[in-house]
């Protein structure tokens, strides 16, 4: 595998993070390539969600986080979002009390460009069901539709980097397949880079080109996704299938 010509969109070195006195991450180094998909794998409690929160400035962090060549460690969450990092958090972060339309408008809240309306249409192209639900309260959507809405809202920020926290969580297998197929399309169409956290390693390794395996706040294995997928020893001992 040859290194991509461009510098990575996200370059994290020595990342530490924790809640109160408890340290959760003990110095992570990883990258997301420009236009690439990086998967963070690991069991419950390994620190995957905390890693995404750290990148978004939602927890206290140490170490260096470079996004598109600029330091973003220590910035406020809203400023990090404004620089082009969209986060689909665990629990999806939907505004349940508001309508689907209002969730869309909030996704594009920071944008002042005239292409917002065109982007609404593009997102409807990925998720036609959201068009039918447009005036409905977001809390009344099914789980799968809510995950679609969460991704739609994140895309409307026009991010350069999309952070996704377990998009498969709590969804029926068919819906999960649908959502991952759409993610493949999004990746191809929009040139957006993706950092994907998943417990379902099989799914994640299918779409990722780079993967890291986390264990209790440390990276234990890293490499091209294809290699990790083929390594029987890793699969047996860490990925459990």
């Amino acid at each position: 595998m040859t290194a991509p010509p461009e510098a990575p969109i996200l370059d994290v070195r020595g990342l530490t993070a924790g809640y109160g006195q408890t340290a959760v991450l003990h110095g992570l180094d990883f990258v997301v390539d420009q236009g690439g998909v990086t998967a963070l794998l690991g069991a419950n409690g390994a620190g995957k969600t905390t890693t995404l929160r750290a990148i978004c400035g939602m927890v206290r962090t140490g170490g260096e986080i470079d996004f598109a060549g600029q330091r973003i460690g220590g910035l406020a969450t809203e400023d990090i979002a404004r620089r082009g990092i969209a986060h689909v958090p665990d629990g999806r972060g939907t505004f349940m009390e508001l309508t689907v339309e209002e969730n869309f408008r909030l996704g594009a809240y920071t944008r002042r460009d005239p292409e917002v309306a065109a982007d609404f249409e593009r997102v409807f192209g990925y998720f036609p069901r959201l068009r039918q639900r447009f005036r409905q309260q977001a809390g009344t959507l099914s789980g799968g539709e809510q995950q679609m809405l969460a991704i739609a809202r994140a895309l409307l920020l026009r991010p350069r980097l999309l952070l996704m926290d377990e998009p498969s969580f709590g969804l029926a297998p068919l819906i999960v397949q649908e959502i991952f197929a759409i993610m493949q399309r999004i990746r191809g169409d929009q040139g957006v880079s993706i950092l994907l956290v998943e417990q379902n390693a099989n799914l994640a390794l299918d779409i990722a080109d780079r993967a890291y395996l986390l264990e209790t706040g440390r990276i234990v294995i890293s490499g091209p996704a294809a290699e990790i997928r083929q390594d029987e020893a890793i699969r047996r001992s860490y990925l459990g299938y």
């Binding site: 958090p89 972060g93 508001l98 408008r105 909030l106 009344t140």
Partner: protein, 290 residues
Amino acid sequence: MDGLAHQLVAGIATGGIYAAVALALVMIYQATHHVNFAQGEMATFSTYIALTLIQAGLPYWVAFLATLVISFVLGVVIERVLLRPVHDAPVLTHVGIFIGLLLVFSNLSGWMFDYTVKAFPSPFEAGGPMLGGLVSGHELGSTAVTLAVLLLVFLFFRYTSLGLAMRAAAYNPVSARLVGIRVGWMLALGWGLAAAIGAVAGIMIAPVVFLEPNMMLGILLYAFAGALLGGIDNPGGAVLGGFAVGVIENLGGAYLVGTELKLTLALVIIIAVLLIKPSGLFGRVVVSRV
């Protein structure tokens, strides 16, 4: 029969004032889950500012608008300076600050503008009794003004992107940050808006009850009863609740308990709502599927 009709109309007129203050309370409650006990005293202070501007020779409506702007800025500053540092502090810290604000504004009003009861001009006095003596010019005018303000606030929250961002920040601050909303500033804007709405209520009620440092004390109680009646987390419900309390207060005062005991009606409403339907008549029920 005429008497009853008049009491109804007068109830709607004062109800508009309660509705405005109830809305101010609900706006801050939605964003912070605290009831700002100082809302009334802040409104009284704003009313003194309006009187000072009018006495300085400014035309009434210029003074009116200037007061709203000053009150808005004051509300924003209070949030930024006093509330922001204790944002994650326990409830009692907030209660302490609200009581402190109440005392500060009450005493500031007395100290700066003295404690004597003052008359406050109404721009609608020239109208005289209207609709066959059913309603005074001021009642009609102040109801129109409060309704216009309530409508503007509704349109602002419903249709502007800033209003949507303020609602998003109140409902779900974590997600709001993730879409780039500056949640801290949305809170401050909410305080500013609440202070401005309170100022409208103060200016509109002052010609009726006369201006003194404790003018809004009873009104805040009625407004709180209205907010609870309609649903403390529902702005529209709180507004309706405010009008309802105004009518109940006037009818009850005239036919039931007499004017001296009117204020107890507010307490009865508060207790009844908390006992029978704590979420209020229009309390928001969030539907969610998992």
